[in-house]
């Protein structure tokens, strides 16, 4: 909740200010196979949520904001990424 003093100066608020991560929106989740990854950075570039971090040899993945859109999976040229249903290990939903 905002402090009284913030309210007084109107709807002008310091940013960023994130009350929630959006990871909970996810029904499916990308999983990275570091074996296959060749660090081409395509996923890093195309992830709308900025979930990937560049590494020395492979990218890594932080799912706090991942909404499970599947773009990274669709774009990865090496099939190093796959979608699995959130919470379980089978990938039923990702088959649709």
């Amino acid at each position: 909740m905002l402090a009284e003093s913030d309210l007084r100066k109107g709807p002008n608020l310091a940013t960023p200010l994130l009350s929630t991560t959006t990871g909970s929106w996810r029904l499916v989740r990308p999983v990275l196979n570091t074996e296959r990854c060749n660090n081409c950075l395509i996923c890093w570039l195309f992830c709308p949520e900025g979930c990937f971090t560049r590494g020395e040899r492979v990218v890594s993945l932080d799912l706090d904001f991942c909404k499970g859109c599947g773009i990274c999976v669709a774009e990865c040229p090496r099939e190093a990424l796959a979608l699995v249903e959130e919470g379980i290990s089978d990938a039923r939903l990702s088959e649709r």
């Binding site: 959006t22 909970s24 929106w25 996810r26 029904l27 959130e86 919470g87 379980i88 649709r96």
Partner: protein
């Protein structure tokens, strides 16, 4: 007055579920009804709620629903981030679409039912859209609406082609749920 809260995610059809239920009740079920979305700016994937009110006299109350009699959850993954029990009336019913472990009710008076509507939907519709199934399931569990009313409402809201398949789904869900409703506590697996 009966108050229902529907939980889903943006794009899953919770709002339509609330409407179909209201329509079934109001036009085909002999009730007065009112339904409305959660008035949010939610995007696809974000948790959303929708509401239906039923009564046997005209409904004039326009305030939000804080103490539902029934809660319907279209997507069990919501259980992690949302407190679906909030405000639930003592003795209330919770109906959850899940194929997994049953959920623990918050209070002993609450009846929690689960149903794997996703599986049903994949079987019947070939896509995991469960809203009509859950409408029918609520009707069946509680007995407040006939299957016929639900079917007519689905036919009125969805396009012809979609309606036929959703009616088939609704029938299956209704029948399963009727059995559920007659049980005491948690039952499962459609």
């Amino acid at each position: 007055m009966l108050q229902i809260r529907w939980h889903g995610r943006g794009g899953q059809g919770a709002v339509t579920a609330a409407r179909i239920f209201g329509l079934a009740a109001a036009v085909y079920g002999g009730w007065y009804a009112q339904s409305f979305p959660s008035f949010g700016t939610e995007r696809r994937g974000a948790p959303v709620t929708a509401f239906t009110r039923l009564d046997d006299r005209p409904i004039r109350d326009r305030s939000q629903i804080y103490s539902p009699d029934y809660v319907v959850v279209l997507d069990a993954t919501l259980l992690e981030s949302t407190d679906i029990f909030t405000g639930l009336k003592p003795g209330g019913i919770v109906l959850i679409n899940t194929g997994r472990e049953p959920v623990m009710a918050r209070s002993p008076e609450t009846r929690v039912y689960i149903l794997d509507a996703t599986r049903l939907a994949l079987e019947v519709l070939d896509t995991p859209i469960v809203n009509t199934a859950m409408v029918a399931a609520l009707a069946g569990t509680t007995g407040i609406l006939s299957l016929e009313a639900v079917e007519k409402a689905i036919a009125a809201v969805l396009s012809r082609d979609l309606a036929t398949r959703n009616i088939a789904l609704a029938r299956r869900a209704y029948d399963l749920a009727k059995v559920l409703g007659s049980k005491e506590a948690i039952a499962c697996d459609g």
